[in-house]
C-alpha cells in the first residue's frame, strides 16, 4: 500500500507538481500527455529526486516526510525501478545485471533467484550476453527482471513500452499484464498510451500540467471523466458545453450549442452550465424502420419538436422557447411540430394542437428541399424521451475516414455543411458502415443513448 502526497516546484516549465495517490495491491497507471511530468513523479517516489514537501509511505514505512525530516535514500526504500531507456549496465552481462541488486545474498540463493527470473522473463540462453547485443524487447525484460530480483515492495515503471515497436509492445504488454496478476505485484506505471493503461491497470490516474486530474477505475476514467482534459485524453471526442434546462425523474434535458440532448438524471440544477460528452463509439446508427414515424416525419423540416416524457413521468410539453409549460390536465404526451422562426417569416405560432392530433407541418423552405434555416443558435430539438428512442437525430455524413477495422464518421446534425464544421464524431465497425451503405452527403438516423452521455461541471 503506497500513499503519496508530494509537491515540487519546477522552474522550467514553470509550474508546481502536486501528486496525491494511493496504490493498493494492484497496478495503477499514471496516464498523461508528454510533458506532464509523469516520470518526475516516479522519481520522487523512488528517492531519485527530492520533493519540496509532502509525505510518502509504503507498507507502513515512512519513506519521506518533510515535516518530520525523514528522507530515506533510494537504496533503503525497497522500490524497483524500470527506466524508460532500461538503464542496463553495459559493462555487465545479463546475469550480472539481474543479480546486481542481490549481490550480497548468499551464492546459492542468489543464483537460484537469478535462474527463476531468467525463466520467468523468457531470457534463457542470454545469460552471458551483454546488453548491447540484445533486442529492445529482450533489454526490457532484463530491466524488469533486474528490478524484481530483490523482491521490492513496489515496482515503478517509466514508460517501459514506449521504446518498442508495435508488435513487440503488444506482446510485452500482454505478458506483463499476466505477470503482474500472477505475481501479485504492486506497481505504478507511467504511460501516455491509453490502451496500455487500460490493459495493465485496474485504476488510472490522469495527470495533466503537474496535477492528478482524476484518479479512478478504468471505467470511471473512460466513461465518467471529471473534466475536459481527461475527456479529451481518453478519447471522448464529442465534448460540448451546455446548460441544464430541465430535470425530471430519471432524465434531464441539456441544451448544447448546436443540439440538445436528453441525458440521465444529474445532480446539477436547471440553469447551471455544464459540459457533456459522448464517446464516438457509443453513438448508435438506426435503421429507418426503427425510427418512429413521428420523429421521421417531424425531422424533415429542421423543426422544433418538443420531447414528451412517457409515463410514469408527468407528461409535459415543452414549448419552442426555453420555458416549460405547466401540465395541462388531460393533455397527453405527443409530438407537436412547430414552425421555426426564420428571418422575415411570419412569427405566428402554428395552430394549437389537441392531444394526439397530427398536425401538418407547414411547408417551410428547409431541408431537404432548400437550405437550412439560418437560426441564430436555433437548436433542432428532436427528442422523444421514450426509453430506447431518445436523442434520435437525422445526420448528414460530411466526411469519413478509415480506421483499423472501423470507420470514423464526421456528421452534421443540421444539414450539409463544411466537413470542418462537423457536429459529431462517430466510430462504427466496418461491417456496420457497409451495411448502412453510407457515403459523404448521405443522411442516416443516429441515436445518442442517454446512458452513454456523461454530464459534468468544469471546475474552472
Amino acid at each position: 500500500m503506497l500513499q503519496v502526497e508530494v509537491v515540487k516546484k519546477l522552474t522550467a516549465p514553470d509550474f508546481a507538481v502536486q501528486v496525491f495517490l494511493e496504490v493498493g495491491n494492484e497496478v495503477v497507471s499514471i496516464l498523461g500527455p508528454s510533458g506532464s511530468v509523469k516520470s518526475l513523479t516516479l522519481r520522487l517516489i523512488a528517492g531519485i529526486l527530492r520533493p519540496d514537501a509532502g509525505r510518502i509511505v509504503l507498507d507502513g514505512r515512512v519513506l519521506y516526510d518533510s515535516q518530520q525530516g525523514i528522507d530515506l535514500p533510494s537504496r533503503q526504500r525497497r522500490i524497483g525501478f524500470v527506466f524508460q531507456n532500461y538503464a542496463l549496465f553495459p559493462h555487465l552481462t545479463v546475469e550480472e545485471n539481474i543479480s546486481y541488486g542481490i549481490r550480497h545474498w548468499p551464492g546459492a540463493r542468489r543464483r537460484a533467484r537469478v535462474q527463476e527470473l531468467i525463466k520467468l522473463m523468457r531470457l534463457a540462453g542470454l545469460e552471458r550476453e551483454y546488453p548491447a547485443r540484445l533486442s529492445g524487447g529482450q533489454q526490457q525484460r532484463v530491466a524488469v527482471a533486474r528490478a524484481l530480483a530483490p523482491q521490492p515492495d513496489l515496482l515503478l515503471l517509466d514508460e517501459p513500452f514506449s521504446a518498442l515497436d508495435n508488435r513487440v509492445r503488444e506482446r510485452l504488454v500482454q505478458e506483463f499484464a499476466q505477470l503482474s496478476r500472477e505475481l501479485g505485484i504492486t506497481a505504478l506505471l507511467v504511460t501516455h498510451n491509453l490502451e496500455e493503461a487500460y490493459t495493465l491497470s485496474s485504476r488510472i490516474a490522469v495527470m495533466e500540467g503537474g496535477q492528478v486530474r482524476q484518479f479512478g477505475s478504468r471505467a470511471d476514467i473512460l466513461r465518467r471523466p471529471c473534466c475536459r482534459a481527461v475527456a479529451r485524453f481518453t478519447g471522448a471526442r464529442n465534448i460540448f458545453d451546455g446548460e441544464v434546462l430541465k430535470k425530471e425523474g430519471a432524465y434531464s434535458l441539456i441544451r448544447g450549442e448546436r443540439f440538445s440532448v436528453v441525458a440521465p438524471a444529474i445532480t446539477f440544477a436547471p440553469g447551471e452550465k455544464v459540459a457533456f460528452a459522448i464517446r464516438p463509439e457509443d453513438v448508435i446508427l438506426m435503421k429507418e424502420e426503427e425510427v418512429p414515424d413521428k420523429i421521421r416525419e417531424a425531422a424533415r423540416p429542421p423543426d422544433l419538436i418538443r420531447p414528451a416524457l412517457t409515463p410514469p413521468l408527468v407528461p409535459h410539453a415543452w414549448t419552442a422557447g426555453d420555458t416549460v409549460d405547466q401540465p395541462r390536465s388531460g393533455q397527453k404526451a405527443g409530438v407537436i411540430p412547430r414552425p421555426v422562426k426564420e428571418a422575415g417569416q411570419d412569427n405566428q405560432p402554428g395552430p394549437t394542437p389537441t392531444a394526439g392530433e397530427a398536425v401538418e407541418s407547414p411547408n417551410i423552405a428547409g431541408w431537404p428541399g432548400g437550405g437550412w434555416p439560418a437560426g441564430d443558435g436555433a437548436t433542432a430539438w428532436n427528442q422523444l424521451a421514450t426509453p430506447g428512442l431518445e436523442n434520435i437525430f437525422l445526420a448528414t455524413l460530411l466526411e469519413e475516414r478509415s480506421g483499423t477495422g472501423n470507420n470514423i464518421l464526421f456528421v452534421s446534425l443540421s444539414g450539409p455543411k463544411k466537413p470542418a464544421d462537423y457536429d459529431l464524431e462517430l466510430v462504427v465497425p466496418r461491417n456496420i458502415y457497409r451495411f448502412f451503405d453510407l457515403a459523404p452527403g448521405k443522411t442516416f438516423w443516429l441515436r445518442l443513448p442517454p446512458e452513454s452521455i456523461w454530464v459534468w461541471r468544469e471546475d474552472g
Partner: protein
Amino acid sequence: MERIELFPLYLSLKVSFLATLLSLGLGLPLAWVLAKRNWPGKDWVDAVFTLPMVLPPTVLGYYLLVVIGRRSPLGAFLEEKLGVTLVFTWPAAVLAAAVVSLPLLVKSARAAFEGVDPNLEDAARTLGQGELTVFFTVSLPLAWRGIAAGTILAWARALGDFGATLMVAGNIPGQTQTMPIAIYDAVLAGNLTLANTLVIIITLLALVTLGVLNRLNRRVFDLHR
C-alpha cells in the same frame, strides 16, 4: 659518466610518477564532485583549478615559491618545526609537476564521469547499493578509459615540465635536475651528445605515450557505450 647521464632520466621518471599519483589522489575526487554535484562557488573552483593550464609555467613556479618558499608562512613553519625545506629539493619538483598536470587530469576525468548515464547510477541506487559501491561498480568502470587518457596526459605534462620545476626546485645536478632541465643545461654547455641522447629518449617516450592514448581513445567508441 654514465650514471650522471642517466640520473635525469631516473629523476624525471620518479618525479613524474609521484606527481601523477598526487594528481590522481586530488584530482579524481575533485573531478567527481564537479561532474555530479552543483554547489555555490563551483564555477570559481573550476576556474582556479584550470588556471595552471593557462598561466606560464614560470608564473606558476613563482606562486609556488610564494607558498612554500623559506620566507612564506608555510615554508617557515615547515623549516622551524620539522626542519624541512621544500624549495630546491626533488619533492618540490614533484609538487611543481603535480600542479601543472592536475588540470589535465581533472578535465578528462570530469568529462568521463559526466559521460556516464546518470540513470545507470540511479538504477544502482534503487538496487540497494551505497554511494561508494555505486562509484566503484558503475561510475568508475564506465569512466575508466577517459580517466586513463587523462592520467597519461597528466603524466606526460609532468614529465615535460621545465619552468615551474626550475623555479622551485632549481637546477642542481644529481638532485633536482630533471630531463627537460638537463637538456637545457647540456645545450648551454655545448654538450650536444648528451643533449641528443636525452632528446631521443624523451621523444621515444612521447611516441609510446601517443600510441597508448590512441588505443584507449579508439576503444571509447565501442559498443560498451
